[in-house]
């Protein structure tokens, strides 16, 4: 039992600290963190797939579905309550993941990656074609209400941040527990021997389908929050470079631990804004170099740092993908 409760305890502690610290942070940092955590939800989903050896180059499909769901309901649906919007985004992206899952779950390795890429690019094409939605210009997303409460100015940033934080914590906990469930623990075995799993009575495609739906839903919620935090949506959210960015962060974070997704995503957004700031003309060199250095020195990603830290504090290592 302690094995579960200790990391959870640490997580809860970190959560409270961050939530309080936010009050003192400048608002640019708050909104940067909001966006980072929104994206972290997508990364969390990618980690689930990655543990099973799957890397989609088209996860932006669900990200964009979540974002546009929020934007469209907010604009045309006449509903502005954040919980309605997020729920809608979650349901729609889950459904999309469920449908596409019937195809995707049959694929592995590069073929899985390419098929998901194709699917997201088709959505991209469709969005670019819909001039009524502003085509590539996209459109503005009005600030939502929170159960009737409509915060103003800097407060509205904070409230959104806290909400994202709450969702992140909840998702992190659930995924954490999922990793410790039988189905969750089967991810690594999938990579090692699908045959053995089939001959133990497990439907590997079914298992992957489940993981796809979970990660798709997370991506949808992430996209929803991203839309609310950027206050704008455009088809670029479905473009392959967006998916590439998420994979980038996933590698940076590593499949090592749930917390890694959030730290990794924050570090990435932060590094990016540094890069833009000091190397306006050549920030890509900076990002590329960071990625290379990470893969070289932290092949297991930032998550592995926690692992080492844990050993320092001689805690029992969480047995995610040992």
């Amino acid at each position: 039992m302690t094995m579960v409760s200790r990391p959870v305890l640490f997580g809860a502690l970190a959560l409270i600290i961050v939530a309080v610290v936010a009050l003192a942070l400048p608002s640019w940092l708050v909104s940067l963190t909001t966006l980072a955590f929104a994206n972290a939800l997508v990364v969390l989903g990618l980690i689930i797939l990655w543990r099973a050896g799957l890397v989609p180059f088209g996860q932006a499909l669900f990200y964009a579905i979540g974002a546009y769901a929020v934007a469209l309901i907010d604009r045309y649906g006449g509903m502005h309550d954040v919980f309605v919007l997020i729920t809608a985004a979650a349901v729609l992206s889950a459904f999309a993941a469920f449908l596409t899952g019937f195809l995707l779950a049959r694929y592995r390795e590069i073929f899985f990656a390419m098929l998901s890429l194709a699917m997201s690019m088709i959505l991209y094409g469709a969005l670019v074609k819909t001039e009524t939605l502003g085509s590539t210009d996209g459109f503005h997303v009005e600030a939502p209400t929170y159960l009737g409460y409509a915060p103003q100015g800097a407060m509205h940033l904070l409230v959104l941040f806290w909400l994202v934080l709450a969702f992140s914590a909840a998702s992190a906990l659930l995924v954490f527990l999922y990793f410790r469930s039988v189905a969750g623990a089967l991810a690594v075995p999938v990579r090692d021997s699908e045959i053995r799993l089939e001959f133990l009575g497990v439907s590997v495609n079914g298992l992957i389908h489940l993981n796809l739906v979970i990660s798709g839903t997370l991506a949808g919620i992430g996209g929803a929050f991203a839309a609310l935090s950027i206050e704008h949506v455009d088809p670029n959210m479905a473009y392959w470079t967006t998916s590439g960015g998420f994979v980038f962060v996933t590698i940076l974070a590593g499949a090592g631990s749930v917390a890694a997704a959030f730290v990794g995503s924050f570090v990435f957004e932060f590094l990016k804004s540094i890069a833009y700031d000091i190397l306006p003309g050549t920030w890509q060199i900076f990002l590329g170099a960071v990625l290379l250095v990470t893969i070289l020195f932290l092949p297991e990603g930032l998550g592995s740092l926690f692992g080492r830290l844990r050993q320092r504090l001689n805690l029992k290592p969480a047995n995610v993908s040992s």
Binding site: M3, V4, L177, Y178, R180, S181, V182, A183, G184, A185, L186, V188, P189, R191, D192, S193, I195, R196, L197, E198, F199, L200, G201, V202, S203, G206, L207, L210, N319, S321, S322
Partner: protein, 262 residues
Amino acid sequence: MSAILNVRELEKTFGSLIAAHNINIAVPPLQTVGIIGANGAGKTTFVNMITGHLRPTKGSIWFEGRDITGRPSREITRLGIARSFQVPQIFASLTVLENICTATAIARTTSGLIHQALTPLHSSAILADSDSALELFRIAGYRHALAATLPQGARKLLDIAMAIAGAPRVVLLDEPTSGISIEEKFDLMAVVIAALKRRGITVLFVEHDMDIVERYADRVLAFYDGTVIADGPPVETLENPRIQELISGPKLKLAVPNGRHA
């Protein structure tokens, strides 16, 4: 007494190639059947058809009076037929304990994925079962070793231990001693057969080493060219000169190192 496994006029063709032809076998419960035959005689094809990895072209397979012909392997596994593999199918990047725990946990959550998603992997019950399984197969010593680092013998044992985690009634072992040094073979088979008898499991095992077959099988099936050319008690079957010539001929070839066994 009625057979637990019943195979009628089983046939498998790959295009023009006939891999199995007119195979009829009835296996009574708790029998230990040795399957012999040269490479390509159709042994593995036979095993693959029983366990649902291959769909027979003709004929039917009955398990405990139920027709299981052409059912998917995971369904057949759930019904109670397990198998092990020439190349052990274990989870290389997990420890031995995690391997067996996974198998046990799956066996305890048969009602499907959602059930598995809601059941924690580490429960004392699962740990207890897993430990007893490791004891039973004498690999408790490797408990925390990475499966990838195991010696071949231990891999074979772990593979079989995982296969029977779901308490099957029948298990098929595909060359359990392949790639094992002559010295170890007998100890390994001793452990395996003892364990399976203890769990009251009917065994069919594919084997090239005639001494092993003679020692552990109650009955021998000799495959040649996709058909069963002999079916009877070990001693007389193995001493039949025709069998000798058909089976043992290739046996010499086995002395030559062979890609599949390396």
